[in-house]
Amino acid sequence: MSDARPTTRYTEYHPRWYRPRVSTWWWLARWPYLKFILREISSVFVAWFVVVLLLQIRALSRGPEAYAAFERWLQNPLIVLLNLITLFFVVFHAITWFNLAPSAMAIRLRGKRVPDLVIVGTNYAAWAAVSVVVAWFLVRS
């Protein structure tokens, strides 16, 4: 990408910055790059979940008929497919997030660093516990 401002001066020893143009599709070149972009795109599906949640809250406040219509909308095959893809991405987000947790928080106990595996394991255990609690509130026959 060309920079409009003349920040680089032409000198004898440093003739010109060498800046190769990176392709827009650079993230298709390698699996780690693609994984990075997929992780970034997971945020779009996080936002989609918020949209569904807000639609549910609005339908709830409008009464039983509106809520029944919302439930029918959720049964639309296209919406089910979209939610299936969304589930894949939010689980992908959760897994990559928890696996990075040891790098984000280096916890020390009695001067020794807590092993990465313990931090990751604790996160997964907490994830399971939180999921059970949320499900306990929502699943009522």
């Binding site: 993230w27 945020s43 089910v80 929502l138």
Partner: protein
Amino acid sequence: MAKQSNEPVLWALFSAGGVMAAFVIPVHLFLLGLAFPLGWISAPSYEHLLALVRLPITRLYLFVLCFLALFHWAHRFRYTLYDGLQIKHLNELIFFCCYGGAIFGTALAGYLLWNFR
């Protein structure tokens, strides 16, 4: 260009939203988007959900979930466009749309939950 001083706050919101999204969104989405509509698990009744959302603590939880998840999206999506597609010349517009969208969604969540009858 975004002011440098905003960045730590926006990153903290992104990070908090990431934690929140990782812990609770998969189970919410699995139940609401797949298990209930497809009949794998019997869906909660309208009355049960209404009673649940009428509790102030539930509404606070839902508000925080929407708020943090949206700011998580705003930060990550902004950098996806910035790094992934390299549309740096639209930086201000992207910044405005991402955080504007998050603020709008948060305000909408606040309005819906505050006025929930």
